[in-house]
């Protein structure tokens, strides 16, 4: 671009690299100062081809070849009129023929072949298809806006995800540091022998690792492809409805409350209402012990813990919770 000179004041371009080149409708270039000089005298004729010009028709040159600039200008004007799209035609062949006609028009206008005839064709087309042109114009602006919105959303989404992963990593680092510090504190203060403390610490570290691994695997999707949002309900062990009620002796099933006898009850066997109640208040994690469930309820404030309704909101998961519940219900009655 820098090696092009203004055809009039040839030297000025090399000496002044900040000078801009302007191009006009006849496809010839002039530098900015020459343009001003040309119109100071009032006459507006191109230096090379002597066509009459107007100052407003000068545009800053974007491309190295001024012919391309000219073509792009003409094309934009033509496309404002010929703005039909592929769904306006019944089959692909017709659309392609239409496209070819448009190209012919642009080609003729750029190379100054049959300018008059082409202009007449354009005017005739404009008159015939006025309303389609309007409709398509509106549609185009709408589509462009939608596209920009989508792009913006995507960018925002990306930013958010990046921030989230950064925060997640920070949190993990902090958790690790805290557990190390906790170990040191324990070693310093507690009376339990060091080997047991170390073993405990290792366990906890392993748990943390598995948690991190699980989190990494989870890909958070919130919306189905049709647009229906997904509601994620954490479901505890739930056998098929109609299942008989029985206690299952399975040791080590629920790991929440230390000291709780580790027997689990199948949930659906008890009462259907209980099941539905638990479904409504999905914020309460029905996997954990009764005590935790009640504290969660209190914390969330899901309705008052009234005397008769509260046991519809929680579900006992182990046998000691069940006994506790029976005890409480007696007490509250």
């Amino acid at each position: 671009m820098d090696d092009q000179g203004c055809p009039r004041c040839k030297t000025t371009k090399y000496r002044n690299p900040s000078l801009k080149l302007m191009v006009n409708v006849c496809g010839h270039t002039l530098c900015e100062s020459c343009v001003d000089m040309l119109f100071v005298r009032g006459s507006g004729n191109c230096v090379q081809c002597d066509t009459p010009l107007r100052k407003s028709n000068f545009r800053v040159q974007l491309f190295e070849d001024p012919a391309v600039d000219k073509e792009v200008e003409i094309r934009k004007k033509v496309l404002k009129i010929y703005n039909k799209r592929d769904f306006d035609f019944s089959n692909l062949r017709e659309y392609n023929d239409y496209l070819e006609r448009v190209e012919e028009i642009v080609y003729n206008l750029t190379n100054n072949l049959e300018v008059e005839g082409t202009k007449q064709i354009m005017e005739a087309y404009q008159r015939e298809n006025r309303d389609i042109i309007q409709k398509n114009k509106a549609k185009l602006t709408r589509e462009q806006e939608e596209l920009e919105e989508l792009l913006l959303l995507e960018q925002q989404g990306n930013e958010q995800r990046r921030l989230e992963t950064l925060q997640e990593e920070q949190r993990q680092l902090q958790a690790k540091r805290k557990s190390k510090q906790a170990l040191l504190d324990e070693l310093e203060r507690s009376h339990v022998p060091a080997t047991i403390l170390l073993a405990q610490h290792k366990d906890r570290a392993a748990q943390l690792e598995t948690q991190i691994e699980k989190q990494k695997q989870v890909v958070k999707t919130t919306i189905f492809s049709t647009g229906i949002p997904m509601v994620f309900e954490p479901r505890a062990y739930c056998p098929a409805p109609g299942h008989g009620w029985r206690i299952q002796l399975r040791t080590g099933v629920s790991s929440s409350h230390p000291g709780c006898l580790q027997w689990a009850l199948p949930s659906t066997g008890l009462t259907p209402q209980k099941q539905r109640g638990a479904q409504k208040y999905e914020a309460v994690n029905t996997n954990s012990c009764l005590r935790t469930q009640i504290t969660t309820l209190l914390y969330i404030g899901e309705g008052a813990i009234d005397r008769y309704g509260w046991w519809s909101k929680v579900r006992p998961v182990c046998i000691c919770c069940y006994f506790c519940m029976i005890l409480f219900s007696f007490l509250l009655k």
């Binding site: 671009m1 974007l62 491309f63 190295e64 070849d65 391309v68 073509e71 792009v72 094309r75 934009k76 496309l79 692909l92 062949r93 659309y95 392609n96 023929d97 239409y98 496209l99 070819e100 448009v102 190209e103 080609y107 596209l147 792009l151 990306n158 995800r161 992963t165 990494k216 695997q217 890909v219």
Partner: protein
């Protein structure tokens, strides 16, 4: 010998077999039975090629309808030649054993002089060629179009396959390319004008064909579904060329506009990064070029060149590149990024604008392969960690296995040297690269090794600039002089002729006298292709951890993409890449079971679990806790002990029964049990 692998009769052309070869063939057979894909890691120098060939040929003979073709893809021409040698031996064995003439046809496509075998491909049973014929979309269309679905594809030495996929779909455009394209377009224009005067009928005929929507080169297809061109998805292939580029003049005008737009884009003063959709939007605003005509660019150009009967297509390589770029940018909206740099990072004063259109997703190029062919096997000596490949290439393998070497005597000795004798940590970390003490420690390590290791030593550095810096420092400190008293020193340079000369002289020096040291770079030509068997490589020293240049924008974009799409952390991926190169370098020294070698990892970071865990299993199992974080003195002691042990005579009878088996030994019960333990499912 004749083997029975789960009911399949396999002819193996040698009298002895390694247990891991048997194990490998077993896993391979199971993968073929399941008609799925597999990732298998087997250490180098254990006869992988012959195991693959003998099993698949036997499978082909047994079930000729299930497996019609074997497509063996390799990286370089010497490797292809090796494969053909093994195949010949196998065929001779077959004809000797069965007494009948075998009618297996094998074709090898190596270089330009051996091309043009199109009809023969349809009848061949085994085809051997380079990766690019299957992965690069521009070439795959021409060569591999008619390969049937029921074929087995084997990618050998496939540890770098993701980089090959990415390179085949990436385009770099410089100012020079655009200028040459401009010249091409003008030539085209002039040719069109000339032809219009002399023989306008040709252009009219082409025009008519494009209007009708007929495709070029409609050869009657006898075979079934062929491999589609990943550049254009199937539906688009069947569509007609859009009307805006039907006539030759319109198309030439279109290309001119596109070129001007690219030139304008390259005239920037700061770095720009954008995605393909953004680029398309911008191009539509500036020059009113739509997405659909861009897609058909490559095809239209090909058709035009054919109609104008241009004899010298190579002249038009610049415009072909641009049209390929146009097609790629308009076809894929995800997985690509455009980075425009006004100058290179290392030379900020020289204006050298470049447009990098880089693919960030290797699965795009290889997806058609996984979908079309029923069994694809990816195998190499260094594929660890094995689970990363299915993730980044986006496929579900039925077999993921890693094999170890059964050794009668431990012929490899990996050691991690972390400290010098002055307890200063040795590392190639960026912050410590200029540290005098670190460089001196590295020099001492090399000096001590050169005193005790016989014959050849190969040393790998992380980059050319780092190697030059260190060697200059060593020269000033006088270390090089001391080393030269023990051995000669040869060095690899970016120049290919100098490197091959250095290599030749190095090999000569190892044959006579006390041997030599070859200083080379971890991602250079030496580490990729050259084997250092027996006395050519008794010790390999890896100075530092060979990370890529982490400040490159393309790399950063790729890491971001991997994190978003595949949830692979950046650190993990960089470490994985560095360790696979380190393992490749270090694996150069061992090319067989009678070969032995020291593997010295000279960086304290190798002792860490995350890096150690990414070494292949066959190296990891010999890396004991006692060989981590050694000082130079301890290293020297261990090496001396190892070398003296290895220097004892080792005959084949010592190996029999342990690492080398005859047919009877193979069939004994406890041997079969041991074999079952060799394959470690990842």
């Amino acid at each position: 010998m004749k083997l029975n692998i789960e009911g399949l009769l396999v002819y193996f052309p040698y009298d002895y077999i390694y247990p891991e070869q048997y194990s490998y063939m077993l896993e391979l057979k199971r993968t073929l039975d399941a008609k799925g894909h597999g990732v298998l890691e087997m250490p180098s120098g254990t006869g992988k090629t012959i195991s693959l060939l003998s099993l698949i040929v036997a499978y082909q003979r047994e079930y000729p309808l299930e497996v019609t073709k074997l497509i063996y893809c390799s990286r370089t021409v010497p490797e292809i030649e090796k494969v053909v040698e093994e195949l010949r031996k196998l065929m001779e064995f077959y004809s000797k054993e069965t007494g009948e003439k075998n009618n297996i046809l094998a074709l090898a496509l190596s270089s330009r002089k051996n091309l043009c075998v199109h009809p023969e491909i349809l009848h061949a049973n085994i085809i051997v060629y380079s990766y690019h014929y299957l992965l690069d979309p521009k070439i795959a269309d021409l060569v591999s179009k008619e390969l049937s679905k029921k074929s087995v594809v084997v990618f050998d030495e496939a540890h770098n396959i993701d980089n090959v996929c990415i390179d085949s779909m990436s385009v770099n455009i410089t100012r020079r390319t655009l200028d040459r394209s401009q010249a091409n377009v003008e030539t085209l224009q002039n040719t069109i004008l000339k032809i219009k005067e002399t023989d306008a009928a040709k252009l009219k005929e082409e025009y008519r064909r494009l209007v009708e929507g007929l495709k070029e080169a409609n050869v009657a297809r006898e075979t079934d579904i062929y491999m589609s061109n990943p550049v254009l998805p199937d539906e688009i292939l069947q569509e007609a060329v859009p009307g805006s580029i039907r006539t030759a003049e319109h198309f030439v005008g279109f290309m001119k506009r596109f070129l001007e737009y690219l030139k304008a884009r390259l005239r920037i003063h700061h770095v720009v990064q954008e995605s393909a959709p953004q680029f398309l939007k911008d191009i539509f605003e500036k020059v009113c070029i739509d997405r659909k005509p861009l897609r058909f660019c490559a095809e239209r150009l090909r058709s035009l060149l054919r109609t104008l009967e241009i004899a010298d297509i190579a002249d038009f390589s610049a415009i072909t590149l641009i049209s390929n770029f146009a097609t790629l940018v308009s076809t894929y909206s995800k997985g690509f990024t455009i980075i425009i740099e006004p100058f290179e990072d290392r030379t900020p004063t020289i204006a050298n604008p470049v447009l990098h259109f880089s693919c960030m997703d290797p699965s795009i190029a290889i997806k058609p392969v996984f979908e079309r062919f029923q069994s694809v096997i990816i195998t190499s000596g260094t594929l660890s960690p094995l689970d990363i490949y299915p993730r980044i290439l986006d496929f579900r393998p039925v077999t993921v296995a890693s094999f170890t070497m059964t050794l009668a005597r431990t012929c490899l000795c990996p050691l991690v040297v972390g400290r010098g004798n002055d307890q200063v940590a040795m590392t190639s970390k960026f912050e410590t690269r200029e540290d005098f003490a670190v460089i001196r420690n590295y020099g001492n390590l090399l000096l001590e090794m050169s005193a005790i290791v016989p014959d050849g030593i190969v040393a790998f550095f992380t980059s050319y600039t780092y190697m030059e810096n260190i060697v200059a420092s060593w020269y000033e400190q006088g270390i090089l002089e001391n080393v030269q008293r023990n051995k000669l020193i040869f060095i690899e340079t970016p120049d290919a002729a100098e490197t091959s000369m250095a290599l030749e002289k190095y090999q000569e020096a190892c044959e006579n006298g006390r041997g030599a040291i070859l200083l080379s770079v971890a991602r250079g030509k030496v580490s990729e292709g050259i084997d250092f068997v027996h006395h050519f490589g008794r010790a390999v020293i890896m100075f530092g951890v060979p990370y890529v240049y982490t400040q490159s924008r393309i790399l950063k974009a790729r890491l971001e993409y991997l994190r978003d799409q595949f949830q692979i952390r950046e650190n993990d991926f960089l470490t994985f890449d560095a360790m696979r190169h380190a393992a490749q370098c270090v694996g150069r020294a061992i090319r067989g079971k009678t070969d032995y070698g020291l593997m010295i990892f000279a960086d304290k970071r190798y002792a860490r679990a995350d890096k150690r865990g990414k070494l292949p299993r066959w190296i990891q199992e010999h890396l004991t806790d006692g060989s981590l974080n050694l000082t130079i003195d301890e290293t020297v002691q261990l090496s001396k002990h190892f070398l003296r042990q290895m220097a004892q005579p080792f005959r084949q009878e010592d190996q029999l029964g342990l690492s080398l088996l005859t047919l009877e030994q193979l069939q004994s019960e406890d041997m079969l049990q041991k074999i079952a333990q060799i394959a470690h499912q990842a």
